[in-house]
Symmetry: C2
Subunit: 354 residues, 2 copies
């Protein structure tokens, strides 16, 4: 069994995207995605094991906040952000103690935001299980988020790596502002496309970018490489979110409720596109959201309109476009197993099922 | 009109505590509390004006998190923690830019915890107004708290003062663990006295202590002075909380609902003492809390039992004891207007009405 959650199901999917991306030089003479994933797994296996050991060692005190935090951490996410730190560090001296510490920190920050988001969204399921706020209550989920955030910042501070703490504080600020934008525009459909990219960059891409930056700093890479890797992180983040948006329209696999984003009036890319294409959709959706609780059949009807508009294909195209941009950026980096691994991560992000 | 909220009403209260504390040498030849407060006001007037200007300059963006944050900040708290930073800095080179920055930071951290607490406690009123979570919603209050916390940490980081960021991260950790302890023991009355002091030290005293530490560090005071000032902060924090607990039993003035702590099953010192003295109280209270919503008359009956037990006098004695300890610590510091001002703050903390 692979350690990489992005592996699951991906190997069996026909990799037609490889054909569509074939003009990108880093893909020339490429093996299949299955072969790539096996190579990636081998390349990062020890690093991820070391990371997971350290994540497990986050204090499991008797306190409710500790239990609420581990409730989420133990459900093991995809660990994609720590993977970014690990792979980036392999362009230099590798996944050293300080790189590992930054990898744990990025997962803790990500987990902190999920704990607060689930309270805000009244979310009931995450990673296929009841959320921490359902099991331990909103208060414990809020304080557990605060606790993980502080634990992450202390770890970043203690790593002694230049510049990563300041940058993380900036990233968290961007994430919170993006959350606020998302909050304010709930149920209001105006300005959707523009807001969408502002939210995605702040909420998702900024943290991927930090993971690349942190890995580069820990490995003391030259500035040009660091900047290129950050751009990769940004594009990977947008692609990741676009695929996430697409998955909201699928019935199974994510561990979240299907159509959860739509029900909450969150702007996702399929919705942005469908609203531009279907003139009556805006009024229908605003009417529904104004009622508060949205009935399942009405939600299903809206989802069908979105699907029929071809918005899912447009979302896929957005994801592929950003994967392509991520791959083009990689051409600026030295060829080798680290670069190959980042190619695989970008490609696999298009094929993930959860 | 004095800038110091702790001034309000205090000057007219007979300062009998001065007699009871008369063995403390820093009080010898002391003027009345009224005279002391006038001197304090004069001594810190310019510093507090500079602080308030800087606090007002915290970004007022278009975002809901900014509005929710300023909803609280603009209601002006007592600014007691920033006052601690300012006065401590006056033992050295004074309220410099970096000391001011730390004073703003401590108020932001305090405000962040209030924004999260109000969501957790479902609090409706704070400083005489609807809470931010009532006006802007829980989500905005949670994210506004996150935003202020990060804004505080960035400011502390940028101050460049040695050791204050690490210490603040430790303090926030202590505050969150104390919140968790408080949460876990809601409705459970066992182990009350012991838990009470653990909660007070983490939730309240730790931040006062940091304020003294930060002022001392900004002013580059010798280690012995820094340590003494930290101990002062710890005792001031416990005294402050004890008076706060007492105020929960008064009908007016605090801007919070009376008996709010009791209604939420929070352990306060009057309750700790009453439970030790009134054997039937524990069962009555646990029975009430188990019902969920507590009726006003039942709450009033419990409050009367607490009052009749003499627990408020015991709470006052606790506060006075810690004020006395704070004053004794001040004997280790050089005499002068800064020390006199801290004497006044400690004394006035006993007389505050809000």
């Amino acid at each position: 069994m692979s350690q990489l959650a992005i592996h699951d199901g991906a190997a069996s999917v026909p990799m037609t995207v490889l054909d569509r991306l074939s003009q990108v030089s880093v893909l020339r003479g490429v093996p299949t995605l299955s072969e790539r994933l096996i190579a990636l797994d081998r390349f990062v296996h020890d690093d991820l094991s070391a990371f997971e050991l350290e994540l497990d060692a986050i204090p499991r005190g008797a306190r409710m906040i500790h239990r609420a935090a581990h409730h989420l951490l133990d459900l093991r996410g995809k660990h994609l952000r720590p993977l970014c730190v690990a792979l980036t560090s392999r362009f230099g001296e590798g996944f050293t103690e300080r790189a590992r510490s930054l990898a744990v920190a990025v997962e803790l920050v990500h987990s902190a935001t999920l704990l607060h988001d689930d309270v805000v969204d009244l979310a009931e399921r995450r990673r296929g299980q009841p959320t921490a706020c359902v099991t331990y209550g909103n208060a414990a989920s809020i304080f557990a988020g605060d606790w993980l955030l502080v634990a992450a910042l202390r770890r970043i501070r203690q790593s002694g790596v230049e510049g990563v703490l300041d940058r993380m504080l900036t990233v968290i600020d961007e994430m919170i502002v993006a959350e606020s934008v998302q909050l304010e525009r709930r149920g209001k459909i105006a300005g959707a496309r523009e807001d969408y990219f502002a939210i995605v960059e702040g909420k998702t891409a900024a943290l991927f970018r930090w993971a690349m930056f942190a890995g580069a700093r820990a490995a003391e890479l030259p500035t040009a490489a660091e900047t290129a890797l950050e751009r990769y992180g940004l594009h990977l983040g947008v692609a990741f979110q676009a695929v996430d948006d697409e998955l909201d329209y699928q019935e199974t696999g994510t561990g979240k409720d299907a159509l959860a984003d739509l029900r909450e009036g969150k702007i996702t890319f399929p919705l942005v596109v469908a609203l531009e294409r279907e003139s009556g959709l805006r009024d229908r959706l605003e009417g529904l959201l104004a009622q508060g609780e949205v009935a399942a059949d009405e939600l299903g009807a809206i989802a069908n309109t979105v699907r029929a508009s071809g918005a899912l294909a447009a979302t896929r195209a957005l994801a592929e476009d950003h994967v392509q941009r991520a791959l083009l950026v990689l051409e600026e980096l030295p060829a080798g197993p680290a670069r190959d691994a980042l190619v695989t991560v970008a490609l696999a992000s298009l094929e993930r099922q959860s």
